[in-house]
Amino acid sequence: MKAIEFNGLTKFYGKHRGIESIEFSVTKGEIFGFIGPNGAGKSTAIRTLLGLLHPSGGSAAILGHDVVNEGVQARLKVGYLPAEVDFYPEMTSRELLQYHAGLYGLENGDIKIEELAEYFELALDRPIDDLSYGNKKKCAIIQAVLHEPEVLILDEPTGGLDPFMQNRFFELMESLNKKGVTVFFSSHVLSEIQRMCDRAAVIRDGKITAIEDISSLLSKQMKKVRLVLKKKAELSLPDGFQNHHSTGTKHNFDYVGPTEVLIRWLAEQDLVDVVLTEPDLESIFMNYYQR
């Protein structure tokens, strides 16, 4: 069974496009990345999936339940971590999580709340309004996993978390995934997608432009190369090199292709120094879309 299915899902805000004819599926037990620049339609797709937005066309389903006609059954099995955390400011974290547990009809909610709060080092009895953004995010993570969902939908999940807590978060996600939980993961941070995901969909201007295995996406990934040669020389650049600039013995260029090809080529050069950097996600997108 598919965990998440988009069947031509379309959402227009009046005349403005949100998403158009989105068509892909996420297999049960998979960790699936959802990548795209700001305004590409990631949040629109997620919000439509969760019933916050009404689709203009097409359909979507979670674990076989249509998100419009069987929204309650679909959401019963979903944990959602929003990008922006807006909770009831007058409540404490404990009250919010108890409220959440009540809406899901959890019987052992209090015990699980304590366990997860301890894991994420969250003070449960402080008003949410007094919490830092990072602590609000911890509270959001706990509410997403508290009811043991079968599908987790995460929208920019690590924003506001310090590196230590990010690591704990990823460990938790990995352990849940090992238990069979499907993770649908929207992020701008490429290293998170690389670490977590098996496959990813790329969305741009409201349309899916690619659905790739992460290994395949990475093989297409651009690297910025800066090298210094011992002597000034003409370089014989193989396929995959572009935007070459040189000043004396220093050369700068971009490379797109298998990393082992680059390493073999570098080994053949008479080098003083070499620096390989991962470009920001936008550069990868630009490169990816140009192909």
């Binding site: 019933g51 916050l52 937005l53 059954q73 807006d86 909770f87 009831y88 509410q143």
Partner: protein, 267 residues
């Protein structure tokens, strides 16, 4: 109805409800406690009434009976102040009980839980009804106590009529506020439109009563259809108007409910 959401709404609004209940009860007790002083000056007050412009007295629902019986005295304040106060509480709570979730961004939390939108809206309306009933019944209980304490020969039939009419009026305004809020931007401060709607209706009726030339204005105000002042001597429940206003209120709630089901939570 979702019990978890229902109790949470009651808890969330308890402070506001307590404050408004205290204000209304204190005001009720205050006006009833000064009645004995006014009644002792009965002749002087009747004389004073005769010097007031008739239009003014009519607009405020006053006549010589206003000062000679506790029900007349109470009805003047009830019609002018108490229904307005409770109306503003109920309508402002009605306008915000659903829209506040969207304005504060908490709609995203609530609507991604396994509860239908219809269930959420229905539950919130039930909570709203409960809050209104709490304020209204508490005020009524303290009014009964005050009547017994500060007056005698109370015309209880008039009292019941006034309170039935008052409750219908307040319910009508609450339903109107729910409907308006479903169409207005959630970022808007609802208090202005709510106070405007209730005061506007009240003054429209007062002007219509004061001046025969513009008496037709009263048709546009729900106050016109349900008498709250006992100045005429006889006061009976106008069941026809009550039923019509309740049906309109239910239709407004239904329309507000339907509108909320269609709203996109853009974030």
């Amino acid at each position: 109805m979702n019990k978890v959401l229902y109790y949470k709404e009651l808890k969330r609004n308890r402070k506001n409800t307590l404050i408004w209940t205290s204000i209304v009860v204190a005001f009720t007790f205050l006006i009833l406690s000064i009645y004995p002083s006014f009644s002792q000056m009965g002749d002087q007050m009747t004389e004073l009434m005769s010097t007031l412009p008739q239009e003014y007295a009519r607009a405020l629902g006053m006549d010589e009976g206003t000062w000679s019986s506790i029900i007349g005295f109470y009805s003047t304040y009830y019609g002018i102040y108490i229904t307005l106060l409770i109306g503003i509480f109920a309508a402002s709570t009605g306008a915000t009980i659903i829209g506040k979730e969207e304005r504060d961004g908490t709609a995203e939390f609530l609507l991604t839980r396994p509860v239908t939108r219809s269930n959420i809206v229905t539950t919130k309306l039930m909570a709203l009804g409960t809050l209104l009933a709490v304020v209204y019944s508490t005020q009524t209980i303290f009014a009964v106590l005050g009547m017994n304490l500060f007056g005698d020969d109370v015309l209880w039939g008039h009292f019941v009529t006034m309170h039935v009419h008052g409750f219908v009026l307040i319910s009508f305004f609450t339903a109107a506020a729910v409907l308006f809020s479903s169409y207005l931007s959630p970022k808007l401060n609802y208090m202005g439109p709510v106070v405007g709607m209730i005061f506007g209706s009240f003054f429209l009726d007062a002007i219509a009563k004061a001046t025969d030339a513009v008496s037709w204005l009263g048709f546009a105000s729900p106050y016109y259809y349900l008498q709250l002042q006992a100045e005429s001597g006889t006061l009976e429940v106008n069941w026809g108007s009550c039923i019509v206003l309740i049906i309109i209120a239910l239709l407004m709630l239904r329309a507000g409910h339907a509108r909320y089901l269609k709203i996109d939570i853009v974030g």
